[in-house]
């Protein structure tokens, strides 16, 4: 489904990696590992099409990723939360879904917020939430997410132990439904389902 061929990444004057390739099929998870500055985030940004690779090619279902169809299959969660401080968690979720052209009813959104442990805080502006709670608002998107390809940059950062387990469960549910996921993390979290592949950048 997702194929990368002979990728090369140059940032500034430095070549971060070259000749990198992998194949990921339905139900598989790719763990990107490597120390700070090894190019994990750069690789993720190549996979979502925001950073054109110096060399090489990325294909989704055999097609180049420069199409609207690819982005309709993609869910990306960066290290920035992409939530608006002035809006409430509920408004944030609904606005994000509308802008991404997804159907999300208000009941589904409230349900998702309850699952991430933000019940009762739906109507509080996000600027009053803690760092971890803001992260949970961002992660609430994943609860109702039906898109097949998830690309997650450090999803476990700022989460407490219970939330890490919850997120691991959400990701394995996604893999069981035949989804794909690529993620970077420094914490070793075991995802109970699917085939786990590892890619170490050095």
């Amino acid at each position: 489904m997702l194929e990368a061929d002979n990728l090369e990444c140059v940032r500034g004057e430095r070549r971060l990696f070259a000749g990198l390739g992998f194949k990921l099929e339905a139900g598989e998870l790719l763990y990107l590992q490597g120390k700070n500055g090894a190019g994990k985030t750069s690789l993720l940004r190549m996979l979502i099409g925001l950073l054109p690779p110096e060399n090489g090619e990325i294909r989704w279902k055999g097609q180049s990723i420069k199409s609207d169809e690819f982005r309709a299959d993609l869910c990306y969660l960066g290290h920035l939360n992409a939530i608006k401080e002035e809006l409430t968690p509920l408004e944030n979720l609904l606005a994000a879904a509308r802008l991404a052209d997804e159907d999300l009813s208000e009941d589904d959104a409230i349900d998702a917020l309850e699952q991430v442990g933000l019940a009762g805080r739906e109507d509080l502006a996000c600027k009053y939430l803690s760092q971890g709670q803001k992260r949970r608002v961002a992660l609430a998107r994943l609860v109702k997410e039906k898109r097949p390809l998830w690309i997650l940059d450090e999803p476990f950062v700022a989460l407490d132990v219970a939330a890490v387990d919850w997120l691991a469960g959400i990701i394995s549910g996604h893999l069981q439904r035949g989804g794909l996921a690529v993620m970077t993390t420094h914490q070793l979290v075991s995802i109970p389902a699917g085939t786990v592949r590892e890619l170490r950048l050095s």
């Binding site: 940004r45 979502i48 099409g49 925001l50 950073l51 054109p52 609207d68 169809e69 982005r71 309709a72 993609l74 990306y76 960066g78 290290h79 920035l80 939360n81 992409a82 939530i83 608006k84 401080e85 002035e86 809006l87 408004e91 606005a95 994000a96 509308r98 802008l99 991404a100 052209d101 502006a125």
Partner: protein, 222 residues
């Protein structure tokens, strides 16, 4: 296509309503700059009538400039811009929505308050009407052209100054035809020709500017 544009406008208006200080400060800037001129020049109706179109338009350009740096900067800082760029529709449509929302909160209030300010310059009723209409149809062009500048300077240090240097020269045609329309009405020539050209500028910049801004935003996101 319309759905995404209205979604962006709706979100940006909601955000603007939660941060009313931004709208109000640009509006007050406009009011104060325009009101300083009659005080500084003195009560000479003939001179004021001559100055009025230019003063009002220059103040409108500067007031629009005030809110431009934040057009994309907030979305860029919190990661929303990435998500908008990854949505399954062209980024140009998103920018079109943002430009329209920017005009609704920055250009439209200027047009609504301009006739009140025009009275200070002893403008006739006809001239006030043309002035309001000219600002109403000219300010969308300011938002559109400004979006290109805001996208090009996104993420740069000291981007605000660079933004004015980039954008103000491009505002010159709008200034000439906008002030010209009022001038022509005051001298009795009729401002229709100027207004048509102003409308043409607005349509051209609304059609073209969002796509140029989208291209610049993609570079900023790399």
């Amino acid at each position: 296509m319309l759905k995404i544009i209205t979604a962006v406008i709706g979100r940006d208006l909601k955000l603007a309503m939660r941060r009313q200080a931004d709208i109000v400060s640009a509006l007050f800037f406009f009011v104060i700059v325009v009101s300083l001129f009659p005080l500084g020049v003195g009560p000479e109706p003939d001179l004021l009538r001559k100055l009025a179109p230019g003063v009002l338009w220059v103040a409108a350009l500067l007031a629009t400039m005030l809110s431009l740096p934040r057009l994309f900067a907030d979305d860029h800082r919190d990661g929303t811009l990435e998500q908008l760029a990854l949505a399954p529709h062209p980024l140009g449509l998103v920018v079109t929505g943002k430009v329209i929302a920017h005009w609704l909160v920055s250009g439209l209030p200027l047009a609504l308050i301009a006739p009140v300010l025009g009275i200070q310059f002893d403008l006739s009723a006809d001239a006030l009407l043309v002035l309001t209409f000219a600002i109403l149809i000219g300010t969308p062009a300011l938002s559109g052209i400004g979006a290109i500048g805001a996208a090009l300077t996104l993420g740069l240090r000291g981007g605000g100054v660079l933004l004015s240097l980039l954008v103000l020269p491009l505002y010159i045609p709008v200034l000439i035809f906008g002030a010209g329309a009022v001038d022509a009405t005051v001298t009795g020539l009729g401002g229709e020709g100027h207004l048509s050209l102003l409308a043409a500028l607005t349509f051209a910049s609304l059609g073209f500017a969002p796509w140029a801004s989208a291209a610049a935003l993609k570079i900023a996101l790399e």
